[in-house]
Amino acid sequence: MSSKIMYNYRAFDLLIQSELPFRELLPTSPIGSDVNPIIIGFNSVSPYGLVGSLSLNTPSYQATSDELWLHIPDVARFLIMNGNQIYIDPLPKADEDSIRLFVLGSCMGALLMQRQLLLLHGNAIKIGAQCISFIGNSGSGKSTLSGAFFKRGYSILADDICVINNEGEVLPSFPQIKLWADVAKKLMINTQTLKKIRPDVDKFALPLKQQFHSKATQLRIVYLLETHHQKEISITTLTGMEKLHALQHHVYRKMYLSNQARKHLCFKQCMQLASIIEFVRIRRPIDGFTLDAIINKIKLDLMKRGFTENALTQ
């Protein structure tokens, strides 16, 4: 009989049972409707990759239709299988913070994609009874906006991986946002009591506590964040194919879509999402703008789209 302690958590509407404790995740007790939990455990993972016919093959990741193998130098090899298992094989110099970071990011992303969910690289913030999502390239300001909305009292469903089901609802991830040191300073969030996400990275984990929204919520608007060389903040509504191209471009870990069938499904899901959400492109100056100015522009835009003062006053 196994003597391993398993920790139970709930994230992405799934029950997770893990050998490794995760302070980032919401602890839970299994309930009657839980079937087939996600299992996260330590196991040896081949240094050579997968056996069988590979649909993806690079030095850092390989895939077959049901498995993804990941090699993260100085951290671990991971094996993500069948949308319900993650094996962790730590490498000699690994620290636990880095292992947890990659499990909750790339591994969980791969697992959710194996479960045929649509994942966008972005956050999700509750506004009224619905939510909005900010997507964009690295450095575009997604985390800054997560932090800014948090500071203003809004509840957050997701920070990095925005998971959307077939009904167009964002599934709640886990109660943490990640903030760079300089962003935290700008937002006047004290990092002294916060833990770094990885030893040598100046990014901090901020627990959301009561400001984590743990129910699946209808996604209403996606905001695409970009920068430009002009001095103003511009806001443009995108429609039709433009919407679709932008959504598809910002799918989380697109390179893990291991075969034609998965790419086809992902594109179909982007099409369906594009048909029900509003899509807005925000272009901000690279320098010389205030966070307040962007938030105010966003709030004005939300009011134009029917969100009430009540929903916007936190």
């Binding site: 039709g240 790419k263 048909s275």
Partner: protein, 98 residues
Amino acid sequence: MNTLCLTSIISRNHDVAYTQIDTDLVLLEPNMNIFCNVNPTGAALWTLLENNALTLDALCKYICNNYRVTEDECLKDVTQFVEEMVDQKLFIIANCEK
């Protein structure tokens, strides 16, 4: 390839995924080719064939009855549209009786 004639029976390729995104009708063919139709008459014909297979003649009559176009223009435009759609494997010609 079948030659298109008035009695050709045209149906949709039901392996094509489609969605109306604002004013764009977007079609996704199984091999990942994406088509976007911004022409309202094209979209109307796509919708008309949702649960039906219809002859080219019937399609032309529908367009003539619902849009301001002459019969000749209608035949030319609808034929061209159907040929393009067949070419892209979005429509299928079931048979052609001469």
